[in-house]
Amino acid sequence: MKPPADARSGGGEPLLRVEGLSKTFHDRRLFSRAGGAGVRAVDSVSFSLAAGETLGVVGETGSGKSTLGRLVLRLVEPSAGRIRFNGEDITALSQRQLRRMRQQVQMIFQDPYGSLDPRMSVGAIVAEPMIVHGLWHGGRDDRVLEVMRQVGLQAEHRNRYPHEFSGGQRQRIGIARAMALQPKLLVLDEPVSALDVSIQAQIINLLRELQQQADLGFLFIAHDLAVVRHVSNRVAVMYLGEIVEIGPRDALYSSPMHPYTVSLLSAVPVPTVDRERGRDRVVLHGEIGSATNLPSGCRFHPRCYKARLKAENPDVETVESQGERLPAACVLHQPRPVDAGDGHVAICHFPERGGDRSEVAVRAVESSRGAG
């Protein structure tokens, strides 16, 4: 929600640095079917986040966004990788040692209904984290009221219960609770997805103000690309547990390199008639992928338009896959990161860049920006 923070993160340690972070869930019931391989919900994810910066995370359902958020808070134990917060390695800290970190990292959930205890008054909900962290030495009422005011709730709301509030107000209560401990980092998991459009803007603007006041870092998870673009400095695109593309916001939206990013951009409806009507969209092949049964090679190959375009090129070696011919590289080999500079990285054998940029990618960007 500020100018791209690359320059800011230049010196010293970023607020958050994640390296090779992975999580495999072993659901006992899966053993018979998946041979114990488990669900690779998050697979070797690396990124960093500076104070005052927002990293947006997008991707379809099941791509591992929430698991990533929970890993950062260590609400879920990583299977591999490191998490550094403020320069300190917190991967191996015991739950007791984590307490201090937990004050500084808070999470806000999608569902403003489910995430608040219905039997507690708003005042008690906001005060609870302070009590839990031993920061409640009587007379902190003023702090409760201050936080409530900060998020736009009124003093008289403190004695009311969550069911007496609308969705947007409940989300404010959740934000007040998270802000009570003056955190440095907020993990926001779909914070506005459940809200009405008219209320979304209120909450987005509120988050922006809070961030500016306290130089907060935001890990902002959402599936709405327009919302993410609006709030982020940098954006990471996840597909089946991997970050397939990450980069500064404007670079990612104006020159997406990964075919999955292109497909997402192409699918977003733009509310302007003349533009919307003439638009070709990349309708993806197949259904959402499954993390229990990852495709070989590039995990996007069963749905990728670029692989199919490339397969028509006689110079590209192809192999048979599910009844069609696709580039051997895509089907057999895990792609490596391609760096376009400025921290803009994608993992793809045939990234959409330079002379290899397909017509599909050009049109997807033009039309998403209303220039088509």
Partner: protein, 335 residues
Amino acid sequence: MSDGAVLAVRDLSTVFPSEAGPVTTVDGVSFSLGAGETLAVVGESGSGKTMTFLSVLRLVPPPGRVTGGEVLLEGADIAALPASEMRWIRGAGIAMVFQDPLTALNPVFTIGDQMLEVIRAHTAMSPRQARALALEVLERVHIPAPAKRIDDYPHQLSGGMRQRVLIAMAIALRPKVLIADEPTTALDVTVQAQILELLAELRSELGMGMVLITHDLGLVARYADRVAVMYAGRVVETSPIAQGFGRSRHPYTRSLFRSIPRLDLPADQPLTVIAGQPPDLARLPAGCAFEPRCFLGNGREDCRSERPALLPTTSDRHLSACPHWRALIDAEAGA
């Protein structure tokens, strides 16, 4: 406008009793839908979108009750039909794909069982014929290998597939009108695009009238011919997409537009906030329901005292329930 309309609704109202007195959730709603036309219905949560069409189908949950209005299907009033005939209309006349695809299918029966039940309730087909029809429509909604899928249970299908099955069930009897209530809200953008392309294709193939209930204005722009905007149980604006969309003549629609982040606008452009909270239907103001939040009317005496009617603006296809709509155009011209 109801001449030639496949579905015409006039002055439809539905009331729920509550502790705070009767609550009018559908308040004198009128619209019409032509064959092969798509009408989008937008508005915030609780504005009455779903309830309007439950009222059309006479499926309002008790103690709610339709208290008045006409519903003409191909010119014949169905509002007074006996329950048995109404059951027939639902499916063969007007079919609805409900808001929540995950709960709309019964988990203990296969897809085929559920489709056959619907088909046989409405036709004289033998089980064998009904199964052939079920396979045909599953194929039509692009379910791969329908002969294998038809014996699956709902949990064996992805969300996108389940939504396709529901659409298949809805079109099996070739209804005149298909009502799709937030058909893609629970789905990802990429799957969303697939489902909407499918609906658009079916609409033109089968010549159905389609109602698309959504809060995604982007979908409206792409798929609808006309839009009706609802607020607090009423239609406050209706216009053909080509003329009116984005050039709205109601302050609520205007605000709605400016409050959403859009890929086609500069990223740093601040979002306009619609002040205040959604209306409480049990305590509506005497005048315009939008008045407490309206940038144009807020405080105006007539806005507070008179409830505005939905009236033609510059054309009789573009209606607005704001008597001050001209001010929006003037502001535009001045800007």
